[in-house]
């Protein structure tokens, strides 16, 4: 416990230093993936806010939907898990659905679970919540390492698909937290109401407070599917053992409870958020492309 608290306090000091001088970084050449990711998350979130407003108020249907199915012009995306579920439960294949699933699948198999860390609205809400807590408590929010074995994720995916097929009803499609965020925003913009199932989003955020990204780590079947697709991905976090001083900061920074210093950045569970790269003081971590 004591061992952990010292780097934790140091980290807090460093983070404050960075936030006091936005834009300029400590060593000059270093870039912040955290900030870049926050911008991407905000852009992705503004898309699902803009979609209902543009559609409903101005009848511009150029962008539509949220992260269950999004269309930008004639470019259509369908979330792979939702698509897979409807294929399994309706026992039929609809061409345009497969085409919509294609790009997300390719993205996940090249880059891994980047949807989760760079796009998903739940990620944004969790990060904002963290930032609020940091402001209130005046120190960086952390919640314990790995309360459960990570392999639970795979069982959740298999269990969810089996349950959907047994019940004959796709489950994730109406209870997916990223989807619910979009649906609630749309209901609010278009009809001025909220749906009851939005509680799921709040539950997910409460879980996040109890244990960091608990839902994403253990319970999200979509994340599991994307992780499975990205098991042999090209983009990986790699550690330079020559540089690494085993300070353990990356392990503390990792929202998934991985230890990048022990090459866990290459595991299926890593979602390439880059938080460990930001936390490394000696630049021992980097993104690498391709198999080694």
């Amino acid at each position: 416990m004591f061992n952990l608290s010292i780097p934790l306090m140091q980290q807090g000091v460093v983070m404050k230093g960075v936030s006091r001088t936005p834009g300029s970084s400590r060593t000059g050449k270093r870039r912040s993936y955290g900030r870049l990711r926050l911008v991407t998350l905000l852009l992705a979130f503004s898309l699902i806010i803009a979609a209902p407003i543009l559609n409903f108020r101005y009848h511009i249907d150029f962008i539509q939907g949220w992260y269950q199915s999004v269309s930008i012009g004639n470019l259509w995306f369908v979330s792979p898990l939702e698509g897979l579920e409807t294929i399994l439960t309706s026992k039929g294949i609809y061409g345009p659905l497969l085409v919509g699933m294609l790009l997300p699948v390719v993205l996940a198999s090249l880059l891994g679970r980047v949807f989760c860390s760079w796009i998903c609205p739940i990620s944004l809400l969790s990060e904002l919540l963290e930032r609020v807590i940091r402001l209130v408590r005046r120190r960086r929010y952390r919640a314990a390492g790995n309360p459960l074995p990570r392999q639970i994720l795979w069982f959740v995916l298999v269990g969810e698909l089996l349950l959907a097929m047994i019940l004959g009803a796709p489950i994730f499609v109406f209870l997916s937290p990223p989807g619910l965020v979009g649906r609630e925003i749309m209901l609010l913009v278009m009809f001025g109401t909220l749906a009851l199932e939005g509680i799921v989003v709040i539950l997910v955020l409460i879980m996040h407070l109890v244990s960091k990204r608990f839902f994403c780590r253990y319970l999200c079947p979509l994340g599991a599917l994307l992780a499975l697709l990205g098991q042999r991905r090209q983009l990986k976090v790699e550690v330079d053992h020559e540089e690494c001083v085993q300070c353990g900061r990356c392990k503390l920074a990792c929202p998934m409870g991985l230890d990048p210093a022990r090459q866990e950045g290459g595991s299926a569970y890593c979602w390439n958020c880059g938080d460990c790269l930001d936390s490394c003081q000696v630049d021992a971590l980097h993104f690498s492309w391709g198999q080694k």
Partner: protein
């Protein structure tokens, strides 16, 4: 003692429930009862081009794009009180009917709403309640509201002896007539109502949207 009585009452209630279930099912032996009964009913319909109701909740990914694209706000997603149907789109024609702009059909990524032309839409069928319709019930009153608002006037609804009559195989079930009907019955329905006859296999056959 109190606990025991409570328990006995509980068992009695369970037994009664079970019995009532059995009694109720006697008349319905022939039709298979689905695990999750559909929320589609009179005046609460699926958007145009919808596949049959037993397939619809399985196919729909609840992405809400049909809801978003609907320029009239006719389509609304159901919420979790409808169980597994949460997030699926319905049109409550008594609130906002459908003007058959066919935009929702264009955007559906799953084929739950299939491409149909306006006149081939079969969201349901309008049925006139002759016991509450002014024109049918009383002599001398000539309300032709349903006839006047119908987008397929003289095709889907006609006047016979100055009384409106729905042409069953031409009615699209858009619900404009329901929305416009001035008569509201005690049970909240109108004097003309759209029944989702094509959504269920037992009643609706020959609908091409499969």
């Amino acid at each position: 003692m109190a606990v025991d009585r409570k328990r006995r009452r509980f068992f009695k209630a369970v037994a009664l429930l079970g019995l009532s279930g059995r009694l109720w099912s006697v008349g319905h032996e022939a039709e298979a009862r689905p695990l999750f009964p559909s929320p589609v009913r009179t005046n609460r319909l699926r958007p145009p081009g919808a596949v049959p109701e037993e397939l619809f909740p399985l196919r729909c990914v609840r992405c809400g794009r049909c809801v978003e694209v609907c320029p009239y706000g006719s389509i609304r997603p159901l919420d979790i009180r409808n169980g597994v149907f949460a997030g699926t789109p319905v049109i409550d024609v008594t609130k906002v009917p459908c003007w058959l702009c066919m935009k929702c059909v264009e955007v559906c990524p799953t084929g739950s709403l299939q491409k149909v032309s306006q006149q081939d839409v079969r969201m349901g069928m309008a049925i006139i309640d002759k016991h509450s319709c002014f024109t049918w019930k009383e002599e001398g009153l000539l309300c032709h509201t349903c006839y006047n608002v119908c987008p397929f006037k003289e095709t889907a609804i006609k006047l016979q002896a100055m009384k409106p009559v729905v042409v069953e195989d031409k009615c699209t079930g858009c619900g404009l007539c329901v929305h416009a009907c001035p008569v509201t019955r005690d049970d909240g329905e109108k004097a003309i109502n759209v029944q989702p006859v094509y959504s269920f296999d037992a009643a609706g056959s020959g609908h091409e949207g499969r």
